[in-house]
Structure formats: structure tokens, C-alpha cells
């Protein structure tokens, strides 16, 4: 038996090998029919079997071969029968042959459909296995939790264990609401659709000493399984919250600096505007003194009075100066900063401007050689002012665009440009735009550009405006480069 069990697979393998060749079925047909003829010869000792031994031969051919090979096997079997079997009449021979054809063809059809089914099943199970693998991979890389109807954890992925800070063994069977505050499965039931839930809502998970902000997406299984009812997909919001917080912090800080700067600018412009007439008055008085002194004794007294008036004018100047010093920005201390890093901080703020004004802010700074002497927050204030101005200038455009460019223009200077594709600044306004309290906008104080200019000047630069290649205005200024450090 052992030899037989080893022979059969070997035979089968060789048969398969034959089959794989073209016309393999025909070889099988010839072989099977030959074996059947031999077998029938052997059975002749016992009785007459006619077609019966041929049936397995045809079935064997059908099992491995196609329709042509099977038809060929049937024809061979009939051909082998006709001369060997003595017949009473030709009619009986014909009926026998026809019956044989019908019966064997029926069996062959059954064989083929069986083979087709087997093939399809194999294909299906392969595909299923592939999907299973995919699912496993996805689950392994995501924090997913499966709950039953009562909200108890039935299954959770390793990633979910890490995120929730809980061991798999401890978690299974626990109510999810005991791990995540305020969690209620019913919240997700409002929509019957697969992915319901409030997208903006965040949950808090107590983990160790701290908490983790989470976002949860829930899907419900359509079937009525007792143990798996809802599939929760978790996401850690810690990083997102931190980024939001940083953007908000910077915004608050910029607002505070803006208020201080505006106040300082008001004081400065007031001082500047008042100092002009004061200086002129003092000078005029001095001139009048010269004339008055020519009048002799009388004039001398008048000259002394004029002197007093002059002193008062200068005192007014002193008062203004003191007030300005009080309100002016705290002593500016320029540090060494990288332009790209200072602008990178502002991406959150620019994002707000982009969303509010439907504009696109493009940043194209040369990150090499961008170490400059600057005061971080003041520089950022200036940049935000320029970008905000540009955003207002392009607000009525469908393809609103603001571009921030920067590069080293010489060994000493790094230039920053803010351009827009708005309508630009009319030539007659170019003279006055920097003046404090001058504004073309309805809701502004007219301090934006003058504050910006003050900041730029305190950095040893000049704020320039010209026409931009984009079509609108281009504001530019340069900062002093810090090279010693660059080389180090």
C-alpha cells in the first residue's frame, strides 16, 4: 500500500505535467481508453460489459481535459467497442453508442462545473486572505477599539493600548467610558451612517498623571453581533493642540506688541508733528531777538522776555520727548536671529489671514545666509503688518496672492519683500502712505505702515515701496546680516 500511495501522487504529477502541455488532454484520452480496453479484455472472463469500462476512461479525460479531449475520448471508446463487441443488429449498436455518448457527456459536464467551482473558490479564498492581511496591517498601525452594545471594550489594537496607556488584558471587558471622560456611545448614534459623530469634539483620556486629548470617529457594524457593535478610531490630538496653542500665544503676543507699538507710534508722530512748529517758533524768536536788540535799552528787556519764551518752547519739546521715551518700545536689543525661523513661527498667523481673506500666502525665503540682527517679535510684527495690509489690498480678487521673498543682497544686508497682486498704490499716494494717521481704509487708524516703518528703522533699515511684478505693491526692507556667526 505504501508503494501505491507513493505511486499515485507521482502518477498524478506526471499527468498534470502532460496536461499543462498543449493537447495534453488528448494524450490522457488515448491512455485512459487504452487502459479501459485492456481492463475490459480482462473482465471478458467474467462476463460482457460492453461500454461500462469505458465510462471511467471518459470521466478521467473530462476530469483533466477539455471538451475536445473528452469528445475525442468518447469517439475512441466507441471506435474500440464497435469492432470488438458482436452486435445483434446495427440498430442496437447505434443505440448503445448514443446512450454511451449521452451518459458520459452528462458526467463530463458535471466534472467541468465541479472544476470551475473549485477554481473560483480558490480564487476567492486567496483574495480573502489578502484582504485579511491588509486589515491586519491597517489595524496594527492604528489605534482602534471595538466595543459591544454596552460600551465595553472587546478588542483593541496595540497602538490603542499605547495611546490609552492601558494593558490589553486590563482593557478587555472594561467600559470605554471609564477610560475616556464623558464618552457615551449614544452620542454617535444620532446618524445611522457608518462614520457618525461630532468631528470637532475632543475627548480626554486620563493616562498616568496627565491627560491626552483625543478625537474619536465611530463606525457601527450593520449586523447584530453580540460582541462587536461599534468600531472606534482614535487619534491623539496632543500635537495639534500644542500647535494651536503656539499659534494663539504668538497671536496674543503680537496683539500686545501691536498695541504698544501703536501707542508709541502715536506718541512719536505727535512728537514729530509738534516738534516742527516748536523748532520753527524758537528759531523765529531768536531772529526777532536780533532785531529787537538793535533797539537799545528797551530792546534788551524785550530780548530777555523773548529768551524766556524760547526756554518755554524748548521745555515743551522736553516734555514731548519724555512722554515719547516713556511710551516708546522698551530699549530695542537686537539679537541674532534667522529670518526663515522668525517667518516660520508666523505660519499659523498667516494661516488665519489666508482663511479670513481667501488669499494665498507664498513664502520663498532663502534659508542660507539668513542670520540677521533683529528683535524677533518686532520683526514678526512688521511682517504681519505688511502681510495683513497686502491681504486687504487683494481682498476683492479671485486669485488673491501674497508672496514673501527674502535673500541676502550683499555681504551686509538681507532683503525681505512682501508683494501682492492687488491694484497697487497710486503714485499720488506713495508720498503719504507712511505718514501716521493717514489711511485709505475705512476701518483703520493709519498706523500700520508707520509702525512698520518705525520697526524697520529701528533695525537700521529703510522701508521701501514700489510696483510689484505681480501687479500690486511690493514693500521691501533690509536687515543687517550677522556674518561672523554664519562662518562659524
Amino acid at each position: 500500500m505504501s508503494s501505491l500511495s507513493s505511486v499515485i501522487p507521482a502518477l498524478w504529477a506526471s499527468v498534470l505535467a502532460i496536461l499543462r502541455r498543449r493537447g495534453g488532454g488528448f494524450v490522457v484520452a488515448i491512455a485512459a481508453v487504452s487502459v479501459a480496453v485492456l481492463l475490459r479484455g480482462a473482465f471478458e472472463l467474467v462476463g460482457h460489459f460492453h461500454y461500462l469500462p469505458m465510462v471511467p476512461a471518459v470521466v478521467a479525460t473530462a476530469a483533466v481535459g477539455g471538451r475536445r479531449a473528452t469528445a475525442f475520448a468518447i469517439a475512441l471508446a466507441i471506435a474500440a467497442n464497435l469492432p470488438l463487441v458482436a452486435r445483434v443488429s446495427a440498430l442496437e449498436a447505434a443505440v448503445d453508442a448514443t446512450l454511451f455518448v449521452l451518459v458520459t457527456w452528462l458526467i463530463a459536464e458535471l466534472c467541468w462545473s465541479l472544476r470551475a467551482y473549485r477554481h473560483r473558490t480558490g480564487e476567492l479564498s486567496r483574495r480573502l486572505a489578502h484582504r485579511e492581511e491588509m486589515l491586519e496591517t491597517i489595524l496594527a498601525s492604528m489605534p482602534v477599539v471595538v466595543l459591544d452594545r454596552a460600551g465595553r471594550i472587546q478588542f483593541l489594537t496595540p497602538f490603542a493600548c499605547t495611546l490609552l496607556g492601558i494593558a490589553e488584558a486590563d482593557a478587555t471587558g472594561r467600559a470605554f467610558g471609564s477610560i475616556v471622560d464623558d464618552f457615551d456611545l449614544a452620542d454617535f448614534h444620532t446618524g445611522r451612517e457608518a462614520l457618525a459623530g461630532e468631528n470637532d469634539r475632543a475627548w480626554t483620556c486620563r493616562r498616568g498623571n496627565g491627560t491626552v486629548p483625543l478625537s474619536i470617529q465611530a463606525g457601527f457594524l450593520p449586523g447584530d453581533y453580540a460582541n462587536s457593535h461599534a468600531v472606534l478610531c482614535l487619534a491623539d490630538l496632543t500635537q495639534a493642540h500644542l500647535a494651536d496653542e503656539r499659534a494663539r500665544d504668538l497671536h496674543t503676543q503680537l496683539n500686545r506688541v501691536w498695541r504698544l507699538n501703536s501707542l508709541g507710534e502715536m506718541a512719536a508722530s505727535l512728537a514729530h508733528e509738534l516738534n516742527q512748529p516748536l523748532a520753527a517758533a524758537a528759531t523765529y524768536l531768536q531772529v526777532s531777538q536780533i532785531d529787537v536788540e538793535k533797539a537799545g535799552l528797551m530792546g534788551e528787556s524785550a530780548s530777555r522776555t523773548i529768551d524766556l519764551a524760547k526756554v518755554q518752547l524748548l521745555r515743551a519739546g522736553d516734555i514731548i520727548r519724555r512722554m515719547r521715551e516713556l511710551l516708546a518700545h522698551e530699549s530695542r536689543s537686537l539679537g541674532v536671529e534667522r529670518v526663515s525661523s522668525m517667518v516660520a513661527d508666523l505660519k499659523g498667523v498667516f494661516g488665519m489671514i489666508e482663511r479670513a481673506g481667501a488669499v494665498r500666502v507664498e513664502i520663498g525665503l532663502d534659508g542660507a545666509n539668513d542670520r540677521v540682527r533683529a528683535e524677533r517679535i518686532q520683526f514678526q510684527q512688521a511682517m504681519v503688518n505688511l502681510v495683513r495690509n497686502a491681504a486687504e489690498a487683494v481682498s476683492d480678487r479671485p486669485d488673491a496672492r501674497i508672496s514673501i521673498m527674502g535673500c541676502a543682497v550683499s555681504d551686509e544686508r538681507y532683503e525681505v519683500r512682501v508683494e501682492d497682486n492687488g491694484s497697487g498704490i497710486p503714485a499720488e499716494e506713495l508720498e503719504t502712505i507712511f505718514r501716521p494717521l493717514m489711511t485709505t481704509k475705512t476701518g483703520g487708524m493709519g498706523l500700520g505702515l508707520s509702525v512698520t516703518r518705525t520697526i524697520v528703522e529701528s533695525h537700521g533699515g529703510v522701508l521701501k515701496v514700489e510696483d510689484s511684478a505681480l501687479g500690486g505693491a511690493a514693500f521691501s526692507f533690509s536687515l543687517l546680516r550677522e556674518q561672523e556667526l554664519e562662518d562659524a
Binding site: 508733528e273 516738534n275 523748532a279 520727548r321
Partner: protein, 212 residues
């Protein structure tokens, strides 16, 4: 006061007018310009002048005026900056750029006058020095190459004996050269000769003669 002019650049009409009044009352020739652009477009053709400029002006600011004027005229046109908006970094930058003084508005008019007088005195010195240099250069041009060699050595403080040795001539010949040099340079003493030499070629570089 001396015969120099003062040019006032300020966008404020009252400042321009009052400063002109003040300067003219003190006998100074003065002219005013409403902007840097206007000033450079109508640059007065005088060899020396004092310029008083504001800082914050539309078009061209004071720093730009200083930069362009320095490039154009150098030290011959001293610049005084008056500003209603004093900023320390700006003041430092302007002082570095070579302005004579930086005055905040409102200013004591006498202070402005003093600064103008001071820059005039500086101009006088400068012009005097230039005239002397010119004279010395003219005299120097009269020397023969050989005499120049002797002159150079004398100014460097070398003795007759050394010079004779260096030039491979007799001390007697050096004496003769020396007398000629003194005569042509119109110097009665050796120290007067050295002074002339320093004026005409300060530092005594090899190409000093060619430069003057």
C-alpha cells in the same frame, strides 16, 4: 562769518523759513530746498558749503541725502542733521556716515548757529590746508628727480652722511642738493621743509609724489 553757503533741506515750510531767517540775520548766505530730490536736481555750484538736512522727508530721506552727498562731495560739504524724530540707532548710523552733528528739534537756535560756525571753521581749515598742499605740490614739481630723492631722504630725517652713502655721492654734493631743495621748496629751516613734505605726501608712501 566766512564766505561759505548753507543749504537747508526740510519738508517743513516753517522750519525752512525760520532757519533761513536765522542764518541770514547772522550774515550767512543760505538757501532752502523742500526735498532731497529738489536739492540734488538743483545742486548749487560752489566749492564748499554746509548742508542742514531733515531726516524724515518724502521721496528721499535724510540718510540717503547724507550718503549721496558724501559720495559726491566728501568732506568739503559738512552735513548737519536736524530731526523731530530722534532715534539712537539712526543717530549712530548717521554719525558713522560722517555727519558733523545730529540735532533734535526743537533745538536751541544758538546751538544750530554754533554747529554751523564750527563747520565753517572746519571748512576754513580744510581750504587752508588744501591751499598749502597745493603750494607745496607746485614747489615740489620744480625739483629734479635727483633733488626729489634728496628731499625724500631729508623729510624722512636722514643725515647728510647717510644720504651721501645711500646715493653714492660725496657729502659735499649732498650739501649742494640740499641747498637747492631748500631754495626751490622755499623753506628756510629743515623743520619747514619736513612740514611741507608731510603736507604734500602724508605717510610718505612710495607713490606719494605721483598722487599730489
Amino acid at each position: 562769518m566766512s564766505d561759505h553757503s548753507v543749504f537747508v533741506i526740510d519738508d517743513d515750510e516753517a522750519i525752512r523759513d525760520s532757519v533761513l531767517c536765522l542764518l541770514r540775520a547772522h550774515g550767512v548766505r543760505a538757501r532752502a530746498f523742500a526735498s532731497g530730490v529738489h536739492f540734488f536736481d538743483n545742486l548749487p555750484d560752489v566749492p564748499s558749503a554746509c548742508v542742514i538736512t531733515d531726516v524724515r522727508m518724502p521721496g528721499m530721506d535724510g540718510a540717503e541725502v547724507v550718503r549721496r552727498l558724501k559720495a559726491l562731495k566728501g568732506d568739503a560739504w559738512p552735513i548737519v542733521v536736524i530731526t523731530g524724530h530722534a532715534e539712537v540707532p539712526l543717530a549712530v548710523q548717521l554719525m558713522k556716515a560722517g555727519v558733523v552733528d545730529y540735532i533734535e528739534k526743537p533745538f536751541e537756535p544758538n546751538r544750530l548757529l554754533e554747529v554751523v560756525r564750527g563747520s565753517f571753521a572746519h571748512l576754513d581749515d580744510l581750504l587752508l590746508h588744501r591751499a598749502e598742499v597745493e603750494v607745496a605740490a607746485r614747489r615740489l614739481a620744480r625739483l629734479t628727480p635727483r633733488e626729489r630723492e634728496v628731499f625724500q631722504a631729508l623729510v624722512q630725517g636722514r643725515t647728510n652722511k647717510h644720504i651721501a652713502n645711500d646715493m653714492q655721492i660725496s657729502p659735499r654734493t649732498v650739501e649742494i642738493f640740499r641747498a637747492k631743495v631748500m631754495e626751490k621748496m622755499e623753506a628756510d629751516t629743515l623743520s619747514a621743509l619736513i612740514r611741507a613734505g608731510l603736507k604734500v605726501a602724508p605717510g610718505y608712501a612710495a607713490d606719494a609724489f605721483a598722487r599730489t
